[in-house]
C-alpha cells in the first residue's frame, strides 16, 4: 500500500490544561469534509462533540529485550487494529494523549508494528503548551520537555495571558530545545487547521520539497522594530553600545502581524547572508540591503533614512535597540518617532535546559562506512537520550541525496532527489537530553572525506 492510501494520524500532546481538547473540538467543527476518528486517553472536563470517539487507557508495553525503541503503546495497536477494518468510515485519526504521556512509544508504534504501519502513517506530532505555565512545567517534569522535543508543531497557547516580551523569551527557549519544530502562537487554541493536520512530517521527501532545510532559522538579528513613517528625512540615532559596529537590514512595507514579521525575518535572514556594506555616520541607509553601521566614535551617531511615500519601515538589527539606545528622529521637527511594534528574536543560547537541539551543517561528502559506524555507536550509546533525528547526507559517489530520520534508535534512511548542480552538503539535527555538541560535531567531522 502506498503512503497515499494510508490513513494519516496526528498525535496531540501537551500538559493537562494546555488546550488539547479545545483544539480537538476546533478541528472537528471546522473540518466538515473529513471523517475523523478520535482516540482519547484523557477523560477531560470538556466533552468532545463528535460520534467516532474511542476512549482507551494508555498502556505502555516494554519488550523483554529492554530496548527502548521497541516500547510501544498497546492501546493504540488494539484500537487502530480494529479501526482499520472500518476504514470506509473515516479518513483521518487524531490521538490525544494524556498530559503525562511520553511521545516516544506513541510514535514508535507507527514504525514498530507491521500491522499498524501497513495501514496508518504518522503525519505529525503537535504539542500544545500553556504559555503561562510551561516555564514551570519544563523545570519540573521530564514529560513536558520530551513533548516539546518530539513536536513537529508547537502551539504556544493562551498567549493572551502573557506579555509579548515573555512570549518572545519563551519562544526562544522552546526553539533552543527543538530547532526542527514550527512554533505557532495562539489564543484559545485558535490555529489554522492546515498548520496542524496533513503535515507529512515523517515523509522527509515531502518536507524537504516544501522547506529546503529542517532547521528553523537561528536569526542573525535579535530585534525588529516597525515604524510608521510619513514622507521626509529621518535620522537613525545610536549611542555607544556593546559593539563598535552593528549589522542592520531595513525593509519597506513591513507588516506588524506575527506572520508578516516572520516573513520579514525570513527575507532578512537571506539578506544577512550577503556581505554587508559598511556605512559611516551620516550615510544613507538603503532598503533591502545588509549594511554594517560603524559605531566606533563617541557620542551620538546618526544615519539617514529617506521616506518618499508613507510607509511602514522594519528595522532588523543585530542587537536590540535598547543596547544602543537607538532612536528614529524626524529631522525637520527633531521629534522622536516611537516604533509601532517590536519583536525579539532567538537570543544567544542563554538557557541551559537539559533538552536541546544540536545541528550539524557541513559542506562536502561523507564516507558511508564511517558514517554508519559513527551513527551506529552514537545511537546505541545515546539512543535513549536522543529523541528525534532528521537530516540529509551527501554520500561520496552517490548522485542522490540521502535523507534520514529517527525516533530514539529507530532509524530509516533513503535516497532522495539527485544533487545536480547543487553544492553537496550535509545537515543533521538531533534533539535530545544532555547531548554533547562538540563531541558530536567532531565525530561527524571524522566521517567527512
Amino acid at each position: 500500500m502506498s503512503i497515499k492510501d494510508k490513513v494519516p494520524v496526528t498525535i496531540l500532546t501537551g500538559f493537562l490544561g494546555s488546550g488539547k481538547t479545545t483544539l480537538l473540538n476546533r478541528i472537528l467543527s471546522e473540518e466538515h469534509g473529513k471523517r475523523i476518528a478520535v482516540i482519547e486517553n484523557e477523560y477531560g472536563e470538556v466533552g468532545i462533540d463528535q460520534g467516532l470517539v474511542i476512549n482507551a487507557d494508555e498502556e505502555v508495553f516494554e519488550m523483554s529485550n529492554g530496548c527502548i525503541c521497541c516500547t510501544v503503546r498497546g492501546d493504540l495497536i488494539r484500537v487502530l487494529g480494529n479501526l482499520m477494518k472500518r476504514r470506509d468510515k473515516f479518513d483521518y485519526v487524531l490521538v490525544e494523549t494524556t498530559g503525562l504521556a511520553d511521545p516516544g512509544p506513541v510514535a514508535q508504534t507507527f514504525f514498530m508494528d507491521e500491522e499498524i504501519s501497513s495501514e496508518f502513517t504518522l503525519d505529525g506530532i503537535v504539542t500544545l503548551v500553556d504559555a503561562a505555565h510551561i516555564d514551570q512545567q519544563l523545570g519540573r517534569s521530564d514529560e513536558s520537555s520530551e513533548q516539546v522535543a518530539f513536536a513537529d508543531v508547537l502551539v504556544l497557547n493562551k498567549t493572551d495571558l502573557v506579555s509579548d516580551d515573555a512570549l518572545d523569551t519563551l519562544e526562544s527557549r522552546l526553539r533552543d530545545m527543538n530547532r526542527m519544530t514550527r512554533i505557532i502562537r495562539a489564543e484559545n487554541a485558535k490555529v489554522p487547521i492546515e498548520t496542524v493536520l496533513n503535515l507529512s512530517a515523517f515523509d522527509l521527501d515531502q518536507i524537504l520539497k516544501r522547506r529546503p532545510t529542517f532547521l528553523e532559522p537561528e536569526y542573525p538579528f535579535e530585534w525588529t522594530g516597525v515604524y510608521d513613517l510619513d514622507p521626509g528625512k529621518y535620522e537613525l540615532m545610536l549611542e555607544e553600545g556593546p559593539d563598535p559596529e552593528m549589522s542592520l537590514v531595513a525593509l519597506v512595507n513591513q507588516g506588524e502581524s506575527e506572520e508578516e514579521l516572520k516573513d520579514g525575518a525570513e527575507s532578512s535572514v537571506r539578506l544577512y547572508a550577503e556581505n554587508a556594506n559598511t556605512l559611516e555616520p551620516g550615510n544613507t541607509v538603503p532598503y533591502g540591503e545588509h549594511v554594517n553601521l560603524k559605531l566606533e566614535n563617541k557620542g551620538n551617531k546618526s544615519f539617514i533614512l529617506n521616506i518618499e511615500k508613507p510607509s511602514k519601515i522594519g528595522l532588523f538589527t543585530q542587537h536590540t535597540a535598547e543596547e544602543f539606545n537607538m532612536k528614529v528622529i524626524k529631522s525637520d521637527e527633531n521629534k522622536e518617532i516611537p516604533f509601532n511594534t517590536e519583536r525579539f528574536w532567538q537570543a544567544e543560547h542563554e538557557h541551559d535546559d537539559e533538552v536541546g537541539s544540536i545541528a550539524i551543517e557541513r559542506f562536502g561528502d561523507v564516507d558511508p562506512e564511517k558514517l554508519n559506524t559513527w551513527m551506529g555507536r552514537l545511537l546505541s550509546e545515546k539512543g535513549v537520550d536522543i529523541f528525534r533525528t532528521k537530516g540529509f547526507i551527501s554520500y561520496s559517489g552517490n548522485p542522490r541525496r540521502i535523507v534520514f530520520q529517527g525516533v530514539h534508535m529507530l532509524f530509516t534512511a533513503q535516497p532522495d532527489k539527485e544533487w545536480g548542480n547543487e553544492p553537496r552538503r550535509n545537515q543533521l539535527v538531533f534533539i535530545g537530553r544532555n547531548l554533547n555538541e562538540k563531541e558530536m560535531q567532531e565525530g561527524f567531522d571524522k566521517c567527512l572525506i
Partner: protein, 357 residues
C-alpha cells in the same frame, strides 16, 4: 485489493457456495453440527446461512452499536454469543438468531469470548477484567483487574481458565475462585493457544517471538526470529504440532520427542502477503491458512512440521476468518469485502492420507 490474480479452487478444494454480508467480515463459525454457518461483520451484522447451500436463514444488523468485536458459537451449536464496542454480550439462539440474554458489562470494549469445551461456561474479556457466565447468562465468576488489558483467553480444562495480558499468563480455577498458576514474561502477549491436554501454553509476543511453557515441568522457551508479531497460533488436535505466523510464512513447531527446543521448525511459504487467519482441521494434521492477499491454502503436515499444500482457493480479498466444518469436509473463508466462500474439501480416507507419507 490483493495483487494476486483470481484463480479457481485447486487440489482438494472444490466449488461450494458464496454469499455476502454487509461489511468487513471478522468472525464466522459452524452451528447446528454443520447445518448452519454464521458470519459476523465489523458493523454488527450477523448472518446465518444454510451450511450446504448458502441460502440465507436469518440476518440482523446493528447488533452492537459501535461495532462487533467477537463471536463464539457454543460447542453444541444451538446457541452463540456476540460482543462489541458497546460493552454488551448477547447470547442468541442459532435457529432464529433471537437474543436470549443481553449482558451489560460497562463501557469498555468486549473483545474476547470463549465457551468452555463442555459448553457450561462462557468466558468474556473486557479491558482488564474477565467474567464467566453460564449458558443462560448467569454470572459465575469475575476476575480482579489484570495489570493491563486482557489480550487473550482460553480454557485449560473444565473449570480452569487461562488469561494473557502484558507480562503474564494466569490460570484461574473459576469454580473455587483460586489462582492456580502465574507464568511471567516481560513482553506484550498478543495471542495465546493451549495444547488440547492443557499442558503447553503458547503465546505470540509483540517483540516478534513465540514464548511457550510446559505447565507440568515448569519449563519454558522462547522462539525468536519472526519477521512480524505472531498473532496467529493453532495447535493440531493431538497437540504435537503448533502452527504460528506473523508474516506471509507459517512456522510449524513439532513437540514430538524432545522438540521443539533445538529442532528446525517446518516452514510453509504459500502466500504473498501476511497470514490473517490460521486453523488446524478438527481432526488430523491439516492446517488451513488465509492471507491478506486473499489466498487460502490447506497444507498436510508431517510429524516434523514440514508439509505440502493439498489445495488452494481464492477468497477475493483479505481473509478475515476461516473455519473448518465440524466434519472437515468443507472450509469456509470470509473476507474484508464481506464475501463468504465455502469450499467443499474432499474427504480424506486412511488410504488417501497414506499417499502423503
Amino acid at each position: 485489493m490483493p495483487d494476486i490474480e483470481p484463480f479457481s479452487p485447486r487440489g482438494m478444494f472444490h466449488e461450494g457456495w458464496t454469499a455476502e454480508v454487509s461489511d468487513y467480515a471478522i468472525a464466522c463459525g459452524w452451528a447446528l453440527k454443520g447445518k448452519q454457518f454464521i458470519v459476523g461483520d465489523v458493523a454488527g451484522g450477523i448472518f446465518a446461512f444454510e451450511g450446504d447451500t448458502g441460502k440465507i436463514i436469518w440476518k440482523k444488523e446493528n447488533t452492537h452499536s459501535g461495532g462487533l468485536l467477537a463471536m463464539a458459537i457454543h460447542p453444541e451449536g444451538e446457541i452463540f454469543a456476540t460482543s462489541g464496542q458497546d460493552g454488551n454480550v448477547q447470547i442468541c439462539n442459532c435457529h432464529e438468531g433471537k437474543v436470549i440474554k443481553t449482558l451489560d458489562l460497562g463501557k469498555g470494549w468486549v473483545e474476547h469470548l470463549k465457551w468452555s469445551n463442555d459448553g457450561l461456561f462462557l468466558a468474556i474479556a473486557t479491558s482488564k477484567k474477565v467474567y464467566v457466565f453460564n449458558e443462560i447468562g448467569e454470572e459465575k465468576w469475575i476476575s480482579e483487574d489484570h495489570p493491563s488489558t486482557v489480550s487473550a483467553i482460553t480454557w485449560a480444562n473444565k473449570n480452569e481458565l487461562a488469561t494473557a495480558c502484558y507480562g503474564r499468563v494466569t490460570f484461574f480455577d473459576i469454580v473455587n475462585n483460586k489462582t492456580n498458576q502465574k507464568l511471567e514474561w516481560q513482553g506484550s502477549l498478543v495471542s495465546m493457544e493451549l495444547s488440547p491436554d492443557g499442558d503447553i501454553v503458547a503465546c505470540g509476543s509483540q517483540d516478534n517471538s513465540v514464548h511457550f511453557w510446559r505447565r507440568s515441568t515448569g519449563m519454558d522457551a522462547e522462539m525468536t526470529g519472526y519477521p512480524g508479531k505472531p498473532s496467529h497460533l493453532s495447535f493440531d488436535d493431538s497437540g504435537k504440532l503448533l502452527a504460528t505466523s506473523g508474516s506471509e510464512r507459517i512456522t510449524v513447531w513439532s513437540f514430538v520427542g524432545n522438540g521443539p527446543e533445538g529442532t528446525m521448525p517446518g516452514e510453509l511459504c504459500h502466500h504473498t502477503e501476511p497470514i490473517s487467519s490460521l486453523a488446524f482441521s478438527n481432526k488430523g494434521m491439516l492446517v488451513a491458512s488465509g492471507s491478506r492477499d486473499g489466498s487460502v491454502v490447506a497444507s498436510f503436515l508431517k510429524k516434523d512440521g514440514n508439509g505440502d499444500p493439498v489445495g488452494a482457493a481464492f477468497a477475493g480479498d483479505l481473509v478475515g476468518a476461516i473455519s473448518w466444518r465440524p466434519d472437515d469436509c468443507a472450509l469456509a473463508a470470509v473476507n474484508a469485502k464481506g464475501v463468504v466462500n465455502v469450499w467443499k474439501f474432499k474427504v480424506r480416507t486412511n488410504l488417501f492420507s497414506k499417499g502423503f507419507k
